[in-house]
Symmetry: C2
Subunit: 344 residues, 2 copies
């Protein structure tokens, strides 16, 4: 309230002076590296506490070349999937006195490039990225070429030699669609995005493979394109089910699309599973919230962030082996959204 000016932060110089030692000694005493006499350590610690010394990590960082920070670039922090991963990264990091910078790419490759460029000037220790695109990714290649510690989560980039943590998207999708086929479904629709994102591509491949393996045709009219938002998925669903010969089942590639599908079907007055069976990729809170509950392919979300951090820390501390790729298995969680259907 009153004009008390912000007092200059106390530096190690102040502490050293107060403890009657040199700056170097004070630093050694405080940070416990190198030698330091018993008495001195105590004296310095007392002085530091008394003055409220906090240290200046920017100065340390300049000296040591790096900030004790790692960066996370998700596709969208509002997506619960990424929010969960961010949460886990944060938790895992806390133990090692690092902070986390989160900068969402908003699923834009351009924005992703700009962000990486900007984060690079911050001298972070390393980066965890969910690449927005499966394209060239020259910016990521450059990072890797310069041995910048980098771990990809959720989405791999073909031929990019860096550690990745993802799930078995193709296998999970294949299992889901096979499950539908076993229930007698022959016309199985799928809502997918323009497949810029690798994850979606892989899931779509799994859909295809399941059909082919069962000797079923892959019909373009059953594959409808949507962006990964609830609104777009509603539209796509309506388009799909407005065809003369309707699908009897629907497979959606992520939880946002599943939600949209549910809403779209409801709008059209179609009942799940009586009129349409439904399986979605990625479990989500409200899948158990609907009536019937939705059968989904679930991913071990809780493991991704923690493992990514471990891999990254490993690289940061100098590990230089070949790239490691972890694919977690998915799990089909059978609930009530799939019905048997009779075949002619």
């Amino acid at each position: 309230m009153t004009g008390k000016t912000p007092r200059r932060a106390v530096t190690i110089k102040d502490v050293a002076a107060a403890a009657n030692v040199s700056r170097a000694t004070a630093a050694r005493a405080l940070n416990g590296y190198g030698y330091a006499g018993e008495a001195v350590v105590k004296r310095v610690a007392a002085a530091a506490a008394q003055l409220g010394y906090r240290g200046n990590r920017v100065a340390q960082a300049l000296r040591q070349g790096q900030m004790p920070i790692i960066g996370f670039v998700p596709g969208d922090i509002q997506n619960p999937f990424f929010a969960r991963i961010a949460h886990d990264i944060d938790g895992q990091l806390r133990g090692s006195h690092h902070n986390l910078i989160i900068a969402s790419s908003e699923e834009s490759e351009t924005q992703e490039q700009e962000l990486l460029e900007s984060l690079r000037t911050l001298n972070l220790r390393g980066l965890i990225v969910a690449p927005a695109s499966s394209g060239e990714n020259a910016h990521l290649h450059r990072l890797v070429a310069e041995h910048y510690p980098l771990v990809l989560v959720d989405r791999v980039v073909p031929d990019l030699p860096c550690d990745t943590v993802s799930v078995d998207n193709a296998g999970g999708a294949q299992e889901a669609v096979t499950y539908l086929i076993r229930h007698g479904h022959r016309r199985i629709g799928v809502i997918h995005d323009e497949s810029r994102i690798v994850t979606a591509q892989e899931r779509l491949a799994g859909y295809r493979k399941a059909l082919v393996d069962a000797g079923l045709p892959v019909k373009p009219e059953l594959m409808v394109v949507s962006q990964s938002t609830v609104e777009h998925a509603i539209d796509a669903t309506i388009r799909l089910f407005n065809q003369r010969e309707r699908p009897t089942a629907l497979f959606t590639l992520d939880s946002l699309m599943t939600t949209g599908a549910l809403l779209g079907l409801r709008t059209m007055g179609l009942q799940v599973p009586q009129d349409v069976s439904l399986v979605g990729f990625d479990d989500f809170a409200f899948a158990t919230f609907t009536d019937p509950q939705i059968t989904v392919v679930s991913q071990p979300v809780g493991k991704i962030g923690a493992l990514a951090v471990r891999m990254l820390m490993d690289r940061i501390s100098g590990h230089d082996g070949p790239p490691r790729h972890t694919r977690f298995p998915t799990k089909l969680i059978v609930r009530g959204s799939v019905a048997h259907v009779a075949n002619p």
Copy 2:
């Protein structure tokens, strides 16, 4: 892949050398402050581009005393409410070339203190915090006393002289409960947390006020305590509705609790709104997803983050007026979860 060592980052020294000027001149030319000759600017720019000069924001920060970063400490980044705010802060910041550090307090005051202590050593420009507790908050008071740029979001701390952005919790709650009363409800249950969090306290006060204003008694047996998680709210709901004389309506203090209540009621076989009417504070994606859709008190989430950043930037650039407190109004969104009830 091959043993290409990470090449040293190019510094302004390199650029200066390449352009045949002094470091000072190079810096001036690049950042456009002070004088710089036409030709020199061009030459330096060319050299910088050619060498891929990026600048080192850590060094700049050490020199200037601050990192171009602001910190956000939400109660829980997984809560969609905070995720949305984080997203907005991030977006708003991007324009001004700042980055965002997010560190969730996990609703723990202790953790919040440690985080602030840690973030302080990073010399950030300022902080946006949703305090986990309504208690003493000595750590926040200290920050403010030192004129550290600080804006509170969602939760105010009484007597803390700093800018805040929040919503009219008491008013919104009161409106919701009054709405229930108008529909004939007299036994209105509420699920609330231990009220460490200010926001919850205010909402509970609104509940009380609505009852009192209507001449209704505030009955302790209708007020059941839960933590703000889906699981706890399920339990609390079951406890509440296992009483001999059941409430005819239920008011929940946040979206997680609303979800829990819905699940709890379903478990008990109680129908909304036939058996129980329901209003929740805070709108959430799936409120329109249930059948019937849930009537809620909605907050203008999208405005909070942006305003907080604007206020913070204002402080950072030296504004020193008295603390400003913005309370956004809430809005009752009537959907289908409230029924009329006859009174004896």
